[in-house]
Amino acid sequence: MAFLEKTELIPNAAGRIVPEVANNRPQVPYLGVGKYQPRGNKAAPPIRTAADYPESGDKRAADLETALRKCGLRDGMVISSHHHLRDGDRVALMALEAAARIGVKDLMWFPSASFPSQKGAIELMASGVIDHIEGSMNGPLGDYCTQGKMRGMGVLRSHGGRWQAIQDGEVHIDIAVIAAPAADPFGNSDGSHGKSACGSLGFALADSLYADRVIAVTDNLVPFPCIPSQIQGNNVDYVVEVDSIGDPAKIVSGTTQITRSPDRLRIAEFVARFLRDAGIMRDGFSFQAGAGGIALAFVGYLKQMMKEDGVKARFVRGGSTKYLVELLEEGLTDYILDGQTFDLDGVRSIAGNPRHVATSPFTSYNYHGKGNFASLVDAVVLGATEVDANFNANVVTHSDGRLLHGIGGWQNCLAAGCTILAVPSFRDRIPVIIDQVTTLCGPGELIDVVVTERGIAINPLRQDLIDAVKGSKLPIRPLRDIKEEVERICGGKPQRPKPGDRPVAIVKWVDGTALDSIWQVA
């Protein structure tokens, strides 16, 4: 049991303090963008032989507990799960609870993201079944971690960083449990069909390739072959049939909603106008926007402008939503390259439209590959909880140090040609643009534009963008100006909550180095 081992704390190249060792693994402090040179070969799972698997191809196990036993579950192992069913997922907790019944201890749970509905993991941590979580934590799990109650140290990675960690052997998955909206007895699995259809299974792909053992759990067993299939049965050890892998109401939204807040709409419109005025919105361009209220509204405004100017995108990157699907169906983009599918229109489209294509964190985001799609995207629109005057940004913690969001693809997306943070300048009375971010998630040199309701700030490092929008009617202002205005409105600079002196989690950079620490809060 790794009860927060004593470790040295050292500053990294960004001046943030990080532990030298986390969960008994030495950490490389962040060295700067593109500075860390990895060496050696990728990790690989053990060689298996068909002689050990049924010739009939029927890999069904009676239940998850049986499958976990057959996989040789022991104390201290790493169990992975994925968030393609989002807050509706039932499989991850099912697996962890089965492990608890088997009686093992000190597991590391390695989800691609955790959700509030999985707060049952807290009991399993309290009882010692789970030692710690390496993956995004928010809500009750986030509080548990930041209150210093988790035995081991949390490790937060981006989607690309999770692939990198698996591939580079930083995290060795003993047993991967994959929730499959459709699967055959051989283990071929797919996400686009079935009552729990969720779209892409991309988050589970690395686990299927690198884990020692892989269990597919489905509520929609189809006879071989499961077509199409995103997970190859040749990588799967066991298939478990259950009544339900998830709550459909929480897997996808019926429809994703555009914000009606005039302030947020104003931000969204500014972002779209910026892309047009800067000449980024041109024939054959590409962009990525998420499913948040501002991002959705942005797509609406951009679509209007694309139509006005007769401009078509070559591809857009999802999380797909109704609004991206409309672009595709109206011929305003050639392709959707989709990382995850947020609403029913997205699920319908990815199942039926050959130009709506599932991608994985490997193709989209992995930094330790021969390039990735994220850097081919012309513009990306992201959120943030805090930004400092040098454009450094935080996306994981509140200003009081509590965990709020996972990193998701956020860090990976910073590689885009133009990275735009679309944020209100303050929330309630809390300024978003501040002196120093609580947690550093994105180095300012990669963040090009901050769009707020009070104006647009362009990173001085991007003289090309500054020149491109000269003569535009957009309210372009220095970031410091906006910051000072907001401080006036809010009645001075906010007090800085005193962080604890004990790290409870680390934030990894896309190359696996330690970018910052999350500190225990009272």
Binding site: P262, D263, S399, R429, Q495
Partner: protein
């Protein structure tokens, strides 16, 4: 000889709102005590950032109000300082404390006085008891912002809203917007003026005007307060006619005071007065609206239309605005910021209109230079009123930034 001791019943006073769904407001409860110090109990969603600032501000405001012994509970939902000050003052007054004292937050530099004939295409209504809407109200590009003390404020909240609006006039930057306040019907409206006029609003909207005397009462009260405070900049008036009687007296109302810059109509109340349903195309109020236009023009003030209440129906809004402009109105009210752009479009001269007007004006200048009395464009003679209209249209288009 008997001595009467005047005792004022003191009980706790409460003002403001808090709760899960409340943002940017604060609830303050002040319980006066006979002795002892001031105890402040503070809960705030921004406590880690502004907890100390809120406590300090509360102490300062209470001291300024002369409150010495009290139990004070503050439930804050991220209220800005100007709101906190107003809520504490309102709670204290409701508890019978601090009477006759004003606690005024720092005042931003006053904007330039508003010209009488400035463009007033859009005026955005902001409920005077909802501080969350104040701070960004001016960002959305309306020509005017109306801080409303009348219909959007519950009867029990009039006193508190008045202080909130007063503080907003001091502490909120309304940017390019003309700062309007809609006061209550008289006589309550006269109390509103006591708090509002010292903060130099640009325009006072007078609701439910049915006779010139109401305007005169307001005008006299304003003159009196301005004199007391040594204010010389203008405070313009905009009467709102909302009844059949008011419509009949439209011209007398429009000419009741030299401070009147615009005349407008409130259709909800007007149609209620007539006992008819307000329809999307407004057939039932056609006469009343045209009467307002005519009276306003006769009086030499702007005619401004009512609001379009269905925020979801942008096409309906556009149609209403285009008709409204065609009838002779120069602007209308907005109940949501999303309506502003549509309204500005509807009230803008079309490019064809601008082009034609430019040609007429050019022909006029040409004729002037040549010393010709008759202006002609091509084969057509241009009458002087046509030239006047063209000059007006271009000036207006310039004011809207449509032509250089």
């Amino acid at each position: 000889m008997s001595r009467t001791i005047e005792t004022k019943a003191v009980s706790a006073g409460e003002a403001g709102h808090w709760g899960q769904d409340i943002r940017s407001d604060v609830q303050v409860r002040i319980e006066p005590r006979e002795h002892g110090a001031i105890d402040i109990e503070l809960e705030s969603r921004v406590k880690p950032y502004y907890g100390e600032a809120i406590r300090r501000q509360a102490e300062e405001v209470l001291e300024a109000l002369g409150v010495q012994h009290a139990q004070v509970a503050i439930h804050d939902e991220g209220a800005l300082p100007f709101v906190i000050a107003a809520r504490i003052e309102a709670a204290a007054r409701r508890a019978g404390l601090g009477e006759g004292t004003r606690v005024l937050p720092d005042r931003l530099p006053l904007p330039e006085p508003s010209p009488r004939d400035r463009i007033r295409r859009s005026r955005l209504y902001v409920p005077g008891s909802e501080p969350k809407y104040f701070i960004n109200a001016a960002l959305h590009g309306a020509d005017c912002v109306i801080l409303d003390l009348e219909d959007s404020v519950h009867l029990n909240e009039k006193d508190a809203a008045r202080l909130l609006v007063r503080n907003a006039l001091r502490g909120v930057d309304f940017l390019q917007c003309e700062r309007m306040v809609r006061i209550n019907q008289l006589p309550l409206g006269l109390q509103d003026l006591e708090e509002i006029i010292p903060e130099s609003p640009d325009v006072i909207l007078i609701p439910k005007v049915e006779s010139p005397s109401q305007v005169i009462d307001v005008s006299q009260k304003i003159t009196e307060i301005k004199a007391n405070y040594g204010i010389t900049r203008p405070v313009w008036l905009m009467p709102i006619i909302e009844s059949a009687l008011g419509i009949e007296k439209a011209y007398e109302i429009a000419t009741a005071s030299g401070e009147i810059v615009a005349l407008t109509i409130g259709l909800e109340d007007y149609t209620a007065d007539l006992g008819v349903v307000k329809t999307p195309d407004g057939a039932e109020s056609l006469f009343a609206r045209q009467r307002v236009v005519n009276a306003a023009h006769a009086a030499g003030v702007q005619a401004i239309d009512s609001v379009f209440g269905d925020v979801g129906d942008m096409d309906g809004l556009r149609t209403w605005g285009l008709n409204s402009r065609a009838m002779g109105f120069e602007g209308m009210g907005c109940v949501h910021p999303l309506q502003i752009a549509v309204i500005h479009q509807a009230f803008a001269p079309t490019p064809a209109e601008v082009e034609k007007a430019q040609k007429i004006v050019a022909a006029y200048h040409d004729a002037q230079q040549k010393g010709l009395g008759v202006v002609s464009l091509g084969s057509k003679m241009i009458d002087p009123p046509v030239v006047q209209r063209a000059l007006k249209l271009i000036a207006r288009a310039q004011g809207m930034g449509l032509v250089p």
